[in-house]
Every structure is written in C-alpha cells, then in structure tokens.
C-alpha cells in the first residue's frame, strides 16, 4: 500500500515537473527548501506563506496563487517556515496545515504572529474536528478549512480580506 502510494506520488510529481514545478516531494533530508515567486497581479506585495508537509498540495496551491499575482513563500514544516521567513520583514497571509512534523501548525502560527504581528492566516486540516476550529481561532487564525478544500474559497477569503484593507 505504502509502496503504491509512493509510486503514485512519484507519478504526480513527474506531472508537476512537466507543468513547470521543479520541486517534487520533500523528504526528511530535503528540508529548508523555499520558493519565491514575484506576483504579477494587481495586488502588490501581498506575501503569502504556505506551510504544509504535503508537497503537491503546497506547491500546486503556491503555483495557483503566484499565477494570481501573489508573492508566495512555502515551507515543509514550522521550523522551515521560520527559517525561510527570517529575512522577510513582512508576511501578509499564512496558510498553515495544522498537522505538521515536529511543531504543529497552531504553534507555528503563534510564533509567526509574534514575528509578524499584522499577519493574517487560515488553518487547513484533514481532521474535521470542531475543536480544531476553536484552537485555530484561538491562535488568531481567521478560520479553519477542512481538506479537501476549494481553492476558490481560500482565494475569496484572501481577496475579501485585502479588498477590505484597501478600502480602509
């Protein structure tokens, strides 16, 4: 079973390579791997941090958001996220998976919140538990979205938020 899953993942990663994503799956040894893409959208300098140990989800979401004109930083886990953002002065938005290897998403978001007080964010999780929502909200996240999520819903959250900000 495991073998099969790995195979399929490898297949998908190949597809992603075809689609122009250089990075495949991150393994335990492949840490500290970050991507930065310049946004071409009308929303300038909106910097989004995506933390998820699921490489395909993370990278595809990153690709979609970058194509939509956002600046995206990705990380495999909490530590990597902190490391990858150490040179940044500002992160606008974070999409954090709750279950991460090592430090979990909620703790990570709390740390990020300390470094970037203006940061907004949503939690994503495969565990559809009400308590997760509460924990997410407690940590300062806007909401918690359950996997498999609609990309549109995430985008609309981000867009709604910044439209409001711009209006303000």
């Amino acid at each position: 079973m495991e073998y099969f899953i790995k195979d399929s993942i490898i297949d998908i990663s190949k597809q992603y390579v075809l689609l122009g994503i250089k990075e495949g799956i991150s393994t335990k040894n492949e840490t500290n791997f970050t991507k930065k893409r310049k946004s071409t959208s009308k929303y300038k300098k909106i910097r989004i941090l995506i933390i998820d140990d699921e490489a395909i989800t993370r990278e595809t979401l990153a690709t979609i958001l970058i194509e939509r004109g956002y600046e995206v930083i990705t990380a495999n886990d909490g530590y990597e996220a902190i490391e990858n953002t150490q040179h940044n002065t500002c992160i606008d938005f974070a999409i954090v998976d709750i279950k991460l290897p090592g430090m979990n998403g909620i703790e990570t978001f709390k740390i990020l919140k300390k470094r970037f007080p203006k940061i907004k964010g949503i939690m994503i999780t495969a565990y559809s538990l009400n308590s997760f929502i509460q924990n997410a909200l407690d940590s300062g996240a806007l909401t918690c979205i359950f996997k498999p999520f609609d990309v549109d819903s995430i985008i609309s959250i981000i867009e709604d938020m910044y439209e409001k900000e711009e209006k303000n």
Binding site: I9, E54, I56, T60, T63, S128, F146, P148, V151
Partner: protein, 649 residues
Amino acid sequence: MLNLVNAISIDGGFKLAVCLLLFVKYIETKEKVIFWLSMGWLFFGLHNITELLVTKTNYKFFVFINHILFLLPAAAFFECISNMQKPAVKSFHILSILFGIFAIIISFCGTFILKEWYFASIPTSFINGVGFILCAFYFVKFSKISSTICQKLIFLGLFLNGVHNLDYPFLRPIEWFAPIGFSLGVIFAIIFGIGLIIWTIEVTQKEAEKQKRILQELSILYDIVTTVNQTLNLKKILNSIGKKILEFTGVEIIATLLINEDKSIDFVYHYGLSKKFIKSVKKVLRKGETPFLNKILSSKDVKIIEDWTKEPTILQEAIKRERIKTTVFVPIKSKNKIIGLEAIVSHTSRKFTSAEIRLLVSLGNAVGVVIENSRLYNKLRFINRDLERIVKERTKELDNARKNALKMASEVKEALKKLKKTQKQLIMSERLAVIGRMAAMVSHELKNPLTGIKISTYYLKSKLKGKDKKIITSLENIEKEIERASNIINDILCLSREFTINPSLNNINAVIRDVLASIRQKRMVRNITIKTDLDRSIPNFLIDREKIREVITNLLLNAIEAMPNGGKLLIESKLIKKEVVIKINDTGKGISADKLKRIFEPFFTDKEGGTGLGLTLVKEIIKKHNGKVEVKSKLGKGTTFTIKMPLKN
C-alpha cells in the same frame, strides 16, 4: 312315742336329709368340702339305717357294714378338712385314709373275732368319738366360719357327738343310759346338722357375694377399658379411672403421680385434695426430695399405709391437716417398669380387702398400659405434628425454590437476552471502534491526496479553460468523484468517533425545508413529486441542527435513490404526545424483510457505491437525541422511515 327303732330311723332320716341337702349344694358349688361333708352324712345316715336292717340271719354282714359306716364319716370329715385349705392339707388326707382302713380292720376284727356286737362296738365308737372331737376342733379352725352361731353349733354338734360315742361302754351296764345315750346321739347330730346347714347357706351367700364382687371388678375393668379406649387424652383417662376407683372403693381422695423419662415425678391427677396440699406436694416434687416416694417406688409392690405418723415424710403436717388416714399406693406398671403411683386415700382408718387390692393392682397395670399408650400417642402426635410442619415447610421451601428457579430461569433468560444484545452491540461497537481507528488514520491519509488531486484538477481546469470541452467535462467529473470520495470519508469519520451533539433550539420544519431546498438546488430530483405535510404547531426544540440536517439529507437521498424511475416522496412532521414524529415515505422499490433487519448495521448496503454507513449514522444521531428510527417497507411498494424524538431531552 320314742323307742329305739323310731329314734334310730329319725336319726338316720335326718342324717340322710342333711346329706341330700349338702349334695345338692355340692352340685351347685362343686366344692369338694361340701361333697365330703355330704359323704360323711351319707355314711352317718346309712350307719343308722343298717342298724334297723339287722336280723339274725344277716347279723354278721350288717354288723360289719354298720361298723365300717360308723367310722367312715370321720374319714370323710377329715378329707373335708384337708380340702378346706388350698392346696389340700396332706396330713388330714392321710388321716382320712388311715381312718378308712382302720374302720375296715376294726370292723372286721369286731365282727368276726369278738363275735359280739356290743363288744365289737366299744373300740369302734371310741375311735369314732376321738375322730369327731378332733374334727370339731379342726373344722372350726380351718373352715373360716364367720358367724358365731353356726361355728358354735358345728363345734358343739361334732364335739358332743364325739363325746357321745365315747359313752358306748356304759350303754349295757347302766340300763337306763341306753335310751338317753341314743337320744343324745340324735340331738347332737341334729345340732351338728343345723350348724352345717347354716354354714352351708353362709358359704353359698359368701360365694355369691364373691361372684358379685368379681363381676363388679370385671365391670369396673370393662368400664375402664372402654373409657380408656375412647380417648387417648391422659387427663380424661386418669379422671375416668379415678372416678371408677372412688366409686368402687368408696374412698374420698385419689391421686396419680407419674414418673417422667428424666426420673422427675409429676402430680398429674388428684381428686379430693385441697389446693394447699397439692401446692406443697408439687413443691416437694419439684425439689426432687422424695425419699418416701422413692422407697415406695423401689418396693415395686402395693403399699398400704395405715399410720402416717410412722412414715418418713416431710409432709407429715400437711397430711395430718388433710385428714389422710389409710392410704394404698398402687404401682402403675408398664412393661414391668413402674411409671407411676396411684394413691387411694381414705379419711378414715379402713381395711382394704384382698379383692380390692387385687382390683387396684390390675387397674394399676391397665392404667400403666393406657398411660404408655397415651404417651406414645402424644409422642406420635408430636412427631406427626413435627412431620406435618416439616412437610409444610419443605413444601413451602420447594414451592419457593420452584418459584425462585422459575424466576431465576426467566432472569437468566432475560440476562441471556441482554447478554446477546450487549454482545451484538459490543460486536457492533467493536466493529465501529476498529472502523473508527482505521477511519481516523485513513481519513487523514486519504484527505491529503484528495486535496492534492482536487487542487491539481482546479489548476488544470483554470489552465484549460475555453479549450476542449471534453477535457473540461472530464476534469469536472474528477471534481465530482473527489466530492463523493470526500463525502464517504466524512461519513466514516463521523461514525468513527464518539461524536457529541450540540443541541440548540431549532425549528425542525425549517431544517427539513432547508435540506429539501439544497437537494432541489443540486438538481438531484428527477420525475419525483415531493410533498410535505409539516405540522406548524411543533415548537422549537433542542436538536443539533447540523446532525439532524445530515439525518434528513441521508434519508431523503436514500428515498430519491430508491425511485430511479420517479415516484412520490412524502415528508411529514407531527407532534404526537410530546414527541416529534418525522415520516419520510417513498414509492420506490422497497426493501426485502431480511435486508430490512440489517439495514442499520454498519457497512450494510444494497446500493452500488454506498458505504453502508448512512443509516447507521442516522440511527446514531437520533439515538443521541434520545429518539428512535423505525422503518417499514414493502417490496415494490415503497419504504417509510419514521423518526421519533422527544420534545424534551
């Protein structure tokens, strides 16, 4: 005119008459004494008769016979005396035989050697006289003659007769003496005869009295035996026996003491005693200080006390006060063991006859048997009562045991039923738990790749927009399948954990309408007429809106799926006795009875692509709302699901 012949014939006649009288009495009484008396008088009389029959030709023979008959009466009287005692006195018997033999020898010698009547008569009459005098003394001594007149007459008659016989030698020398002597002989014989007759009458009377007494004794014994046989009640028995004894003996007081098995003595019955005396006797008995009674008991025989002052008893004073005089203690015996004492007490000094004592002894024995019987009967009765009680108790116990067993059996049955149910539930929950653990693990693992697929599809769709329509449709199909897979995962997840409901006041009708709207929006309904009959009077009540939504969605989707070729769907809500009832009725293909039983089991499904978790989830959710789900179905006609939830949880 009194001449010799006349005197002799009168004498002989009288003697024979007495003999006849006595013989008649003998026939009547069969007493040997009387027989021998009669014989004596027979010889006496015949002796006189032979004197009359003497002629010159038969002189020798008659003189011989006359002499024998002269001596035989004495022999007969001795035999009579010997029979007066029981057993017969041998010495008199021998004397009588000797007299007989002597009579023959003397007579023979007198007749044939002396050849002269007169000389021959001298020794004979002398012996006869001595014999008669001896008879006179012994007759009176042994015959127990009570009346003094007959005693005197008999003694006088016999004695004087004896003396008169001694006068024989004087008959010839003194001429005038002969008629006087003969006359005296007749007179003395008459005196003796009269005495004897009186005595015989007395004896007969006494015998009659004795017979009467025996009869009385027998009747008393009979009475007692009958009374005693009528009852086994000891008190009644003792009472009736006591009364009989009182009646029979004419005493004033009667008391019965019984020895118990533990050697203590009980004062069981008394008559004619004062309460004070009884009290003191009982006190003594209770203390067990009864040396006097013990002495009587150890003697094992009838004890007659005439003078109480000589007896070693502590109750001396009380006895004096009670005027107790002659007392007979009769042992009450049973199987040769003394079990009690019957005290027969007279206020006066009184002699008890042997007959009375005999009767009392036999009464004592009878009472012993009766008391023993009564005791045995009482024992038996106790045993019987015990037995009855035991039987009753046992029956009751058995009945109880039976009842308990039945109760237990039903309890065991119930428990087994419960156990089976619990087992079933356990298996179910075990299955659910395993599913839960697996689901929890798998769901995350599945949701992540699903997310990957979904997001990738989204990307592809956005990239290929406006190009090949077929590609777009295909991508949309992928999205739908993702949605389906995601729903399945959610169902599994929902069942996998002990979910809790978050109830809040909600309008059930609103929830139903909401679900219906959502279904209509998704355009899932084709050729199906949906009818609603919602009761507006149902108040808002505590439900978990989301969960109930899921329930209704599940049931409605099931109904719709059951009618692929269209049909009617009726949704009802009602308020029946504080219970909210929701009915979802379809006109679909229906469910067979065997499938209907298993419909709520997890993973049981007859739908293609169904998880078999939908209805399980419905049931679990409704259960959490303290309600229940029922289902009725007919193949080819349709299915009705009924949800019942209490208004107040």
